[in-house]
Symmetry: C2
Subunit: 433 residues, 2 copies
Amino acid sequence: MIKIVKNVTIVPMTHEVTFWGAVAFEDGKIIMVSQGNQEADRFIEELNGDVEVIDGKGGILLPGFINLHNHVSMTLLRSYADDIPLMPWLTEKIWPVEDKMTPEHIYVGAKLGIAEMLLGGTTTFVDMYASEDMVAKAGVELGMRTVLGLAFLDQSFPYFEAFAEKLIEKYGKENGLVSLTMSPHAPYTCSPETLEKAVAFAKKHNLMVHTHLSETETEIKQIRERYDKTPVEYFRDLGLFDQKTIAAHCVYLEDSDMKIMRDYGVSVSHNPQSNMKLGSGIAPVKKMMDYGINVGLGTDGPSSNNDLDMWEEMRSASFLQKVVALDPTILPAYEILKMATVNGAKALNRDDLGTIAVGQTADFMIIDTSKPHFFPCHDVIANLVYCGKASDVDTVFVNGKMVVRSKELMGDNLSNIYNQVQCAINELEIAED
Amino acid sequence: MIKIVKNVTIVPMTHEVTFWGAVAFEDGKIIMVSQGNQEADRFIEELNGDVEVIDGKGGILLPGFINLHNHVSMTLLRSYADDIPLMPWLTEKIWPVEDKMTPEHIYVGAKLGIAEMLLGGTTTFVDMYASEDMVAKAGVELGMRTVLGLAFLDQSFPYFEAFAEKLIEKYGKENGLVSLTMSPHAPYTCSPETLEKAVAFAKKHNLMVHTHLSETETEIKQIRERYDKTPVEYFRDLGLFDQKTIAAHCVYLEDSDMKIMRDYGVSVSHNPQSNMKLGSGIAPVKKMMDYGINVGLGTDGPSSNNDLDMWEEMRSASFLQKVVALDPTILPAYEILKMATVNGAKALNRDDLGTIAVGQTADFMIIDTSKPHFFPCHDVIANLVYCGKASDVDTVFVNGKMVVRSKELMGDNLSNIYNQVQCAINELEIAED
């Protein structure tokens, strides 16, 4: 049945404009975007009752967020180990627990994180972890658009191909809400031998690449010592960028790296709160954009951040670049909102996502503007970017299906998910401090 | 009547510990803090019904936030002018509207901002604006602890004394929820002649000082040119620091400035999101603390930030220092929570605020931990600081009086406030873009 959302301010993100109107959709696709009430009322009348009218309650309708970099199942380790250096964090805290994780644990961790993201207006996320089939399962159950990252390091690569073939068989290149990317973990954990085989595999199946790249100074030093290259050059020379690539972090880049990334159409997932909290460094976002590189936003995993909140990532992205440049004019509100929507869609080669227009896929959210931090509203875009909160998200549609309504998850109830997570934590015997 | 909150995890902030228990209070003062249920049940039984038991619903009870720097009435100009340089922002956008503001406008703007702060767990704020008597009125109506900043620049100083005398007569040095500070706007807007008179006035009435200090490079340059001093030296030499002082911003400090501030016991309001969004610079928070300076947190005004959210200020404070130092261990979660509570109390010379203990004033909040971003809870403090949101605040008490319950404001209803704000905006003819 055709659905129509009325009584909303629409932020189409096709260009910098907002207007009062209505959005109709059918079979997951937007079929009408109207200004004012007249056209919408005529449309409803002509359908003669064969339409579901959804009251937008005077809120703001905008495209769902696209979170370009995540390890969603790490919700299990949220606030488990903070404020310690990277290596002890990994070796003493994270890895020992991850070693014990079963696919079932990964599934329940993903459910919790996906619930959090949907409730905050994220409609698509790009993941990277083990047992990604279980992440897909969680995503499908809750109605989230999920881009799996079939991850490997040198030591796990022998198991990668068989696993990836299985998932390709199940989901094809794309199947409903699930799509696949090949995810080499990072330049410093994947040898040229591994990467050559991986690239051949990606070419054979025409897979996108999702990887960590140029995240820390240590990585730059290691790759320079091993190969006398930058991480970007290392990946380029091995042919990774021949596939469409999302590179997460990109904190340390030479100008020549940026030229390479631009020329190969590599997209970046900027993850400001992760880079800040882990003390990794400040990515040259403005400069990347000036070079013409497409930069979207990601949260990174919830155990390093410690949440999956794209609203706060938007603000951190804007504020951090402004203060580093000592220039309040850079990365203005609309550019930031594009990063969280349009640029994410571009990174995924999905020009049907990220905007509200006829023919586009119906992935969008409706914002409740009734809280004091949203009032007055002199500028809709600025209020969204500088004042909007995950808790303002009232309703979310993914692929035309309602997955959040009145701030409640539709696909499962939270206490079920919490019970499953608590069981997982008990099984994993995660040591409390 | 004695009140007791049961069924909560308590974060006392007296030292780094959390425990399950209950808090009882009477006449605005905490009279019992108990671990577990037994002592609380005995306490209730002994009172033989003469006690109001409040269900904490399994939440977290912690001291209310102390927001050390605000211009709360600027909610009227929220998202009115963003992403433009400071001087056009002030001269073309903010000042023309402020010139038209009446005390009534300042009152309704303050009501909106105070509502936002209470709903987000702030129980005390320090303000600086014109017509501060109207800010006091709004604060008293909604039950917020309000520290007024009787503001002046050179041109408004002639009116300051009479106005300040009037408020001192009304509120004394402190009266219930309202207290007063003298607020010279900034080193670059107040001449030595003005400041000498102001200091004499502050000494006569024993007033604290609340001021902007060392916020931008431009200010440093101007004060150097005019007086061949740093702003800190300029204020010190005029005797301002003989009064207890809260200095907002302190982005640009020499080592010698920090020694002066430590020796005079000057407290700092660090306002990270304002400094970032306005491109002012990065305050040397870690270094100030290493010098022994007391550093609390503030939001600055809502038109430059654009909200009054101490949760996000906490994260920005931590994350920004970590990334600048490339060190994830500095400003850990507990230190940050201290900045928002204990250090704020210290800045105000109010050792009865900022902690939960017998004898302390009953200013506290209870956090609803039921949302996915708060689950699991391996570490209460880390979850509060790195995942907590204003929207998680369920209940707030100020001076033993319930001012927020079940996320609803008690002192007024929001639609009343919105109507008043809308009228103010219409009267001010704020031009939409």
